[in-house]
């Protein structure tokens, strides 16, 4: 009667059974830091050393991996120094999996987690970033932590969790043409609110999820964070096995929920009635159908981030942009170098450039208002990213609308928020 999350956490804490609200220490299989949380963890290490703790080695450096993604390519002197600090750290502690920009594969940490099969079904994976939830789409328990907690994991290999309740979202039927996983997750967040999943696991299943590609599933789990969830998860199936096998990973121990698994609540969605959705400023829960916003004029379209710049997101954007010209500033940043290369090989980059869009290197930069394309006061942006809080993408009086790559690309060519079904 255990669901997949309870089974993973039971296995990781050496128990046969756990129940919601149990507090456990779970053994961790993988841990990730990036160029923001890494220096944060280093600061915790320094504080601990000052207080007299001896730190000589990590619990298991081969289970640790590092991404450079937020302030790269180095945005300024401080960011450059942070990247240097990160390199010193990985050298000192023998961490070999360090994805460095300008040295082959690199990209947004969550994108690498699946592109590089860094995390496998059944594992407990923690990362120093709130969107660590993303990787739960592979059938792992994946949760974000802060610097102190990640430092604790790096030294002890375990961390406490309160076993979450699970809410189950069942999608009946295949999503219609022009409707993407992004529309579904925005709809769900609109329904349950930005704290509707707080402290809980959001699990997705049903025939619509079986039909859905792996990359689209990752969009769902990614934005469970925006509903406050501890984790998002989907039971692994043949699509996941194939996806991982293409990336050289075949050796893992899948976990599945019992047939009579318990869920706190079950929500059902009929795919056929879903429309393209947009979240208005200043909250991901502030949703409406794209067609309601056709009078909103835009300054910029942004196609990027762990949420909205995977290969299929880029293909969706290209489908709209092909043979057309953008009317507003349009920036397209593939989420990892491997995706950038595939987009090039498929001719997507040419389509983007022919349309007048700018194509840039992988970075979290503009999504979190850090660098490379931040918004000015009063600028209005439509974006495939996951947050639109005040100041998230730049000036505190800028405005961001969240949407799928199809809606974002359609809006790029009209200059107003546009349902992709209305593009002539």
């Amino acid at each position: 009667m255990l669901n997949i999350t309870e089974k993973i956490l039971a296995r990781a804490s050496g128990k046969t059974k756990v129940s919601p609200d149990d507090v456990i220490f779970a053994n961790v299989d993988k841990v990730m830091v990036h160029d923001v949380s890494g220096p944060g963890v280093i600061a915790v290490f320094e504080k601990l050393k000052k207080s007299g703790m001896r730190i000589e080695k990590l619990w298991s450096p081969e289970k640790v991996w590092v991404a450079e993604d937020h302030f790269v390519p180095a945005a300024d002197k401080i960011s450059a120094q942070n990247v240097v600090l990160l390199t010193q750290f990985t050298k000192e502690y023998g961490i070999e999996k360090h994805f460095k920009y300008g040295m082959g594969q690199y990209g947004i940490c969550h994108t690498l987690s699946h592109e590089e099969a860094m995390v496998l079904p059944g594992e407990v994976y923690v990362g120093g970033d709130s969107h660590t939830n993303t990787t739960g789409a592979l059938g792992a328990f994946a949760a974000g932590l802060g610097h102190t907690d990640v430092a604790y994991v790096l030294l002890n290999g375990k961390i406490w969790f309160k076993v979450p309740e699970t809410i189950y979202f069942k999608l009946n039927g295949k999503l219609p043409d022009y409707v993407m996983a992004k529309d579904l997750i925005l709809k769900i967040i609109g329904d349950i609110g930005t704290d509707g999943g707080a402290y809980k696991t959001m699990q997705f299943g049903g025939s619509g999820i079986s039909e859905m590609s792996v990359e689209e599933r990752l969009t769902l789990t990614n934005m469970t964070t925006e509903a406050g969830a501890k984790s998002g998860i989907i039971e692994p199936d043949q699509k996941i096995r194939d996806y991982l096998a293409q990336r050289g990973a075949t050796n893992y121990s899948e976990v599945h929920g019992d047939p009579d698994a318990q869920y706190e609540k079950i929500y059902e969605y009929e795919a056929s009635v879903l429309d393209p959705i947009v979240a208005k400023p200043f909250s991901p829960e502030n949703i409406t159908v794209a067609r309601d916003l056709s009078s909103v004029s835009l300054d910029k379209a942004y196609i990027g981030s762990c949420t909205g710049a995977k290969l299929e997101d880029l293909r969706a954007a290209a489908r709209i942009l092909k043979g057309r010209t953008v009317k507003i500033r349009t920036e397209i940043l593939p989420a990892a170098i491997s995706i950038f290369r595939k987009a090039m090989d498929e001719g997507l980059v040419k389509i983007f450039m022919d349309a007048g869009a700018m194509v840039g290197p992988p970075t979290c930069g503009a999504c979190c208002g850090a660098h490379m394309g931040v918004l000015a006061k009063d600028e209005v942006c439509i974006s495939t990213t996951n947050r639109n809080f005040p100041g998230r993408m730049g000036h505190v009086e800028s405005r961001t609308y969240l949407a799928s790559p199809l809606v974002t690309a359609a809006s790029a060519i009209t200059g107003k928020i546009t349902d992709p079904r209305d593009v002539k």
Binding site: A75, G228, V396
Partner: protein, 160 residues
């Protein structure tokens, strides 16, 4: 623990507001403190005093996992945040890093407390005394493990 209240009557005060993204590259705690709450209150840094308490609505600290958020508040002098509810990562960062106390309060307590009120928080008795209004509010005890981590002074000092 005594202090005065800075109140934001608002739900979903997120980490982009508590410590905006551009400062994520900073890891000097005193420097971070200068930018605390910048997204909602430009004057916060000037008005906050050591020992102050923040009072806010539900889902305080939602958004990113940045530990910069409780760090910036803590190094501004904030000793506790009293909110209707907390986002999970903010809550555990506050507790595990021993930066400040995240205290859940009832709706009636939230409504009764005003900006500038003097409070005395007595977690051992699960009580908050409002000295200004001469009232006492009950608070729920911390969950067992959380209480132990707080008592130990953070996760690294906690021995299971």
């Amino acid at each position: 623990m005594k202090g005065s209240v800075i109140k934001y009557e608002k739900d979903n005060i997120d980490t982009d507001v508590i410590l905006p993204g551009p400062y994520l590259k900073i890891h000097d705690y005193d420097e971070l403190a200068k930018h605390a709450m910048e997204g909602i209150d430009k004057d916060f840094h000037k008005k906050v005093k050591p020992g102050d308490f923040l009072v806010a609505g539900k889902n305080f600290g939602c958004g990113s996992s940045r530990e910069h958020a409780p760090i910036a508040l803590s190094y501004s002098g904030v000793k506790a945040v009293l909110a209707l509810s907390f986002a999970r990562i903010f809550y555990r960062n506050a507790v595990d890093g021993a930066f400040l106390l995240p205290i859940e309060i009832e709706e009636s307590t939230y409504k009764d407390i005003s900006e500038g009120d003097q409070l005395e928080i007595e977690t051992s008795e699960n009580k908050i005394r409002n000295i200004t209004k001469n009232t006492i509010y009950e608070i729920k005890p911390f969950p067992e493990l959380i209480g132990k981590i707080i008592a130990a002074g953070g996760l690294f000092n906690y021995k299971s």
